[in-house]
């Protein structure tokens, strides 16, 4: 248990992130414990390996000058692009807003007529009985109607159903 606790602190020990009291505690333990000493050695070996990474190449010549040129160019580009809306005078902005509202209002009024005008759904009880009759196959057909003719022909072909 103690070794597990000590080994959990070895990274911070290596990186100088412990108090002097904690450092002392670890050094005393590592001095007497092979397993923890080996764990610390492995960490030190990894740190030594990392130091073998090649040094970065020299910073490219003109780096700072190019950064300043890019900054100047960006500032110039932002000056030229004026936000579209801000290019309008206040009076023009008000006129544009009024036209939009008027357009929306006219559009909604025209839309009501286009859809069908009346807000009341058709009342079937008051509907034209003839129109309703057109779909009523079980009632007697009025004399001279298309339905009457059809039924006459159909009955004749079947021998009157007999």
């Amino acid at each position: 248990m103690r070794c597990r606790h000590i080994q959990s602190m070895l990274n911070r020990y290596l990186d100088g992130e412990l108090s002097s009291e904690q450092r002392g505690d670890i050094e005393r333990h590592v001095g007497a414990c092979d397993s923890c000493r080996e764990a610390l050695e492995r960490l030190r070996a990894t740190a030594a390996a990392l130091s073998q990474l090649a040094q970065p190449p020299d910073i490219p010549a003109g780096f700072a000058e190019r950064a300043v040129i890019r900054a100047a160019r960006r500032r110039e580009q932002r000056r030229v692009v004026v936000p579209f809306w801000k290019s309008f005078s206040p009076a023009m902005r008000l006129a544009a807003a009024a036209m939009v509202i008027l357009g929306l209002g006219l559009g909604s009024m025209m839309g009501l007529d286009f859809v069908g005008g009346s807000a009341t759904p058709p009342d079937l009880a008051q509907a034209d009985p003839d129109a309703v009759y057109g779909f009523d196959y079980l009632s007697d057909a009025p004399a001279g109607s298309l339905a009457d003719v059809y039924l006459t022909l159909a009955s004749a072909n079947n021998g009157g159903g007999q």
């Binding site: 990392l50 970065p56 950064a67 300043v68 900054a71």
Partner: protein
């Protein structure tokens, strides 16, 4: 000599000379960190320059709650992490180096091969582990500064370093890498 904070204030007011001075003072730190994280000189220059331009954009909002150097590392690291997280590991992109006509003395060759092995092992790490190791080992940042640069907690930095070192140990022990 003006402080970094005074230069930032001047740059925020549109003074490009002040901005240029800031770049000259800190370009080495930005370049080194970007090169170690990305491994490619052209990408590193791009990322380091972008970092300075981002800093200039935010200059009017800059508050010196930490040192300018810590702030710079934060911007550079996050830009590099964005690039790393969008691409495949570098070692898969890189073509094998063609043997040079004159490899030089054996010790120099051995050093180059060791450096290459460490580069490959570092490139193979997940981006945040790589960033934590680079900022600790090469830029000497504290755990708190690393946490600030990466955008995480101190505890998380400790875990990233522990896992990164474990993974590195494993890779460097593989045949051909020792």
């Amino acid at each position: 000599m003006p402080t970094d904070e005074e230069l930032m204030q001047a740059a925020a007011g549109g003074n490009l000379d002040a901005f240029g001075e800031l770049v000259r003072r800190h370009q080495r730190s930005a370049w080194n960190a970007a090169w170690r994280l990305l491994g490619d000189p052209a990408e590193a220059e791009d990322a380091a320059q972008d970092a300075f331009l981002k800093i200039l954009d935010a200059a009017s909002r800059y508050r010196p709650t930490a040192s300018f150097r810590t702030y710079l590392y934060r911007v550079v690291t996050r830009l590099c992490l964005d690039r790393l997280e969008k691409k495949r590991p570098r070692y898969m992109d890189r073509l094998p180096a063609s043997p040079s006509a004159d490899p030089g003395p054996p010790e120099a060759l051995a050093r180059r091969e060791s450096a290459e092995a460490v580069r490959r092992a570092l490139d193979a790490l997940p981006p945040r582990q790589r960033a934590a190791l680079v900022l600790r080992h090469y830029e000497n940042l504290s755990y708190q500064e690393i946490a600030d640069a990466i955008g995480t907690s101190v505890k998380s930095v400790e875990r990233l370093l522990a896992r990164g070192r474990d993974a590195l140990q494993g890779r460097l022990k593989e045949p051909g890498n020792a």
